[in-house]
């Protein structure tokens, strides 16, 4: 009787944890590298900036938010600066 309840609570907890993890903007170093790759792409073809963002499922607003988030973190901003050169 108790086993199904425990299992259901465990599943619910897992779902909550996953949704919390996916909720925010990119936050791991990999995301910084991805942002740096997008930045390099835009620098290479400035006229296609909007199209490049669309290709990566981003809007101007979400891209600005990502830039702010990276800038606020010393390590991320350093990593982004080096990776986007």
């Amino acid at each position: 009787m108790n086993a199904p309840k425990i299992l259901s609570w465990a599943l619910l907890g897992g779902v909550v944890a996953l949704s919390a993890g996916c909720d925010g903007e990119p936050s791991s170093p990999n995301d910084v590298n991805a942002a740096a790759a997008i930045a390099k792409e835009i620098k290479a073809a400035p006229d296609d900036a909007e199209k490049i963002l669309e290709k990566h499922d981003m809007t101007e607003a979400s891209f600005e938010a990502l830039m702010f988030e990276i800038a606020e973190d010393p390590e991320k901003s350093k990593a982004f600066t080096e990776a986007s050169k």
Binding site: F63, E64, M67, F68, A71, P74, S77, F80, T81, S84
Partner: protein, 238 residues
């Protein structure tokens, strides 16, 4: 009738001009939007790099974060924030960092300053309150040298010279005190006027004045003029 003719003529002249102008306006608007969107995205790319550069220049992470949060709160674009950070990093290099940079940016944004105005305010703040101007590219060296060299040496030289010379001169004055006896010299003044004084001095003043004119003059103890003239005058007066 004349009015109708005038109206039709007016319309005939103005309508084509309006018709020609409309397409240019209609096409100009979207072009502006595109370029501004592109410019905003390109400017936003700089924000992480400028924030990193500002930290590297010596501004604390807390101040950088506070400035960025204030920018987000006031809906400043990432591009404008990047320009402000760039200006701040430049100002720090020239004038040194300021205390509470984040709070300063917050206050300027609260006042409604944006773009160039914000950059100018940041520059002015660093010029006024920047710490460690001397740590800069070389501005400090001249200042450092100027203070000790300019002030120290002249002062050092001045005091000894000032003291030495007056003391040397003072000594004769001390000798001159006895000449105070000469105060009655006042009486001698009238004698000065009289040409014969010179003759009288050697006779009466001779013994008394010997010390003053003979020793004092040539020896230079009392100064030539003062002792000599006083002694000679006063004593004869007595």
């Amino acid at each position: 009738m004349k009015r109708l003719h005038a109206l039709s003529l007016h319309l005939a002249l103005t309508l084509p001009a309006v018709a020609l102008a409309l397409p240019t306006v209609a096409f100009a608007a979207p072009q502006g939007k595109e370029s501004s969107s592109k410019a905003r995205i390109l400017a936003a790319l700089d924000l992480p790099s400028q924030a990193h550069a500002l930290r590297e220049s010596g501004v604390s992470d807390g101040d950088v974060k506070a400035a960025l949060k204030a920018a987000k709160k006031h809906k400043v674009t990432a591009g404008d924030a990047a320009k402000a950070m760039k200006e701040a990093a430049k100002a720090v290099k020239e004038n040194g960092p300021v205390d509470n940079f984040g709070a300063f940016v917050q206050s300027q944004l609260d006042e409604g300053k944006r773009g160039k105005d914000l950059a100018a305010a940041i520059r002015a703040e660093h010029q006024a309150r920047g710490k460690g101007k001397g740590k800069g590219k070389g501005k400090g060296k001249p200042e450092g040298k100027g203070v000790p060299d300019g002030k120290g040496k002249p002062e050092g030289k001045g005091t000894p010279e000032g003291k030495g010379k007056p003391e040397g001169k003072g000594a004769p004055e001390g000798k001159g005190k006895p000449e105070g006896k000469g105060k009655p010299e006042g009486k001698g003044k009238p004698d000065e006027k009289g040409a014969p004084q010179g003759k009288g001095k050697p006779d009466k003043g001779g013994p008394d004045a010997k010390g003053n004119p003979d020793k004092g003059g040539p020896n230079g103890k009392g100064g030539k003029g003062k002792p000599g003239s006083k002694g000679g005058k006063g004593k004869p007066g007595k």
